[in-house]
């Protein structure tokens, strides 16, 4: 494992295996685009998957299966596979540019967010969150998992500092209040599961943040 804050071993493995939920996979994909060492490890894990696939006990296919695939191949010969248009936020890592983005929403002073229209999984969704220098989110916890990857700038929690490319995993047991410590606004991609729960009466006044 390399320096900085990285996804856990089991989350990288789940990403490599394709079993991570789509919103979580989007945040991990953004992280890998910025951390070549972890990207290389995920590629190595693809070869592990290849070995395991090669070793599987074969399940017999129907007799006409090959002929049907060749017929389909013939039918669409020359067809160009359409590529997804990229969104207009040029500063984003490539995997995030493949998704349409919702409008920016004001969340509070120096704080805004927009939806990333990636596949949802139940209640879990992906957002871009931008917070100005010196600002902090209300102190909060989560009904479910929260995965964050820093795209620009940096933030700090009570215990650690997160710079560009860093990955943070928080769950319902983490009560935190990230504060932006970079001179520029901090932009993050976040997969959120469940309702955000704010700590204290003042926090509860921050309705826009709760509705993230």
């Amino acid at each position: 494992m390399t320096g900085g804050h990285n996804p856990s071993e089991e989350r990288l493995l789940a990403y490599a295996a394709g079993t991570l939920s789509p919103p979580e996979a989007v945040v991990v994909a953004a992280h890998l685009a910025m951390r070549p060492q972890n990207d290389a490890w995920v590629r190595t894990l693809q070869s592990v998957g290849g070995e395991l696939l090669d070793d599987l006990e074969p399940e017999p296919m129907p007799d006409d299966a090959l002929a049907r695939v060749l017929a389909r191949a013939e039918a669409d010969a020359g067809q160009v596979l359409a590529s997804t248009p990229l969104n207009d936020m040029v500063g984003l890592p490539e995997p995030l540019r493949r998704y349409a983005l919702g409008p920016w929403r004001w969340l509070g002073p120096g704080m805004r967010a927009r939806d990333v229209h990636a596949p949802r999984d139940g209640d879990c969704r992906v957002i871009l969150l931008e917070i100005g220098p010196g600002r902090e989110t209300p102190r909060h916890t989560h009904g479910g998992i929260e995965l964050t990857c820093v795209i620009h700038g940096a933030y700090a929690t009570e215990t650690a500092r997160f710079d560009v490319g860093d990955f943070e995993e928080a769950d319902g047991e983490v009560l935190h209040q990230p504060r932006v410590v970079s001179p520029d606004p901090c932009l993050c991609v976040v997969a959120l599961d469940g309702q955000i729960e704010l700590d204290g009466w003042l926090g509860r006044l921050m309705q826009p943040f709760i509705k993230l």
Partner: protein
């Protein structure tokens, strides 16, 4: 629909525990032969070459999806779709970057959520691109062949338990809870087992350079 199948079918699978060492035939030339077959499809649309790839991989791709709980019919459709992708994208295959089995595993990995999760269908999942440009090195081809042998050596040194955990992590739909249920372990233990297997694999691959 498939989700409910997952619950019912899973009980009957993985009854037998087999070690990686026992199944794996000690042949490395076969992998190279599959590489040549994909290249023949890319260069000449060689149907004979494709038929041989199909014969080897389609039954394994079917088995792959059945491990995740899909019914036989859906798994056959999946195998055919994946093999059609092999035909269409053969030009993108680069044997200096991935073995045939690895490349085909990644195609299956990129498709599996489309099939297993209905809400993931409308927007694309983040895909792993093995043909993506990396810094070119003149010794790339040699390295690749070495890596394949190194990986096999490293995997052969994992314990039967560790291979089993890896296999479940790669094939099950809800790997963590499924491994916990199947091996009758608390979730935390499952995660630490995965972590240990990953760290051992990393260490073995780092060491193997000199030893193997």
């Amino acid at each position: 629909m498939i989700q409910t199948f997952v619950r019912t079918v899973l009980g009957s699978m993985y009854g037998q525990v087999s070690t990686y060492q026992r199944i794996r035939p000690p042949v490395t030339a076969v992998g190279g032969e599959h590489d040549r077959l994909i290249e023949a499809v890319a260069l000449r649309r060689d149907r004979e070459a494709f038929a041989r790839l199909f014969e080897h991989f389609a039954p394994r791709l079917k088995a792959y999806l059945m491990k995740a709980g899909a019914p036989a019919g859906a798994a056959e459709d999946f195998a055919q779709d994946a093999m059609l992708t092999v035909w269409r994208k053969a030009e993108l295959f680069d044997s200096s970057k991935a073995r045939a089995a690895t490349w085909i595993f990644t195609i299956a990995r990129n498709r599996r959520l489309d099939v297993l999760r209905q809400d993931a269908r409308r927007t694309p999942m983040p895909e792993i691109e093995l043909s993506q440009e990396e810094p070119e090195r003149p010794d790339q081809v040699v390295l690749m062949a070495e890596d394949a042998a190194r990986l096999k050596t490293a995997m052969a040194r994992l314990t039967a338990d560790q291979i089993e955990v890896l296999r479940l992590a790669f094939f099950q739909d809800n790997p963590h809870s499924e491994i916990a249920r199947r091996l009758d372990l608390p979730l935390g233990t499952v995660k630490s087992r995965i972590r240990k297997a990953m760290i051992k694999l990393r260490t073995l691959l780092d060491d193997a350079g000199g030893e193997a």
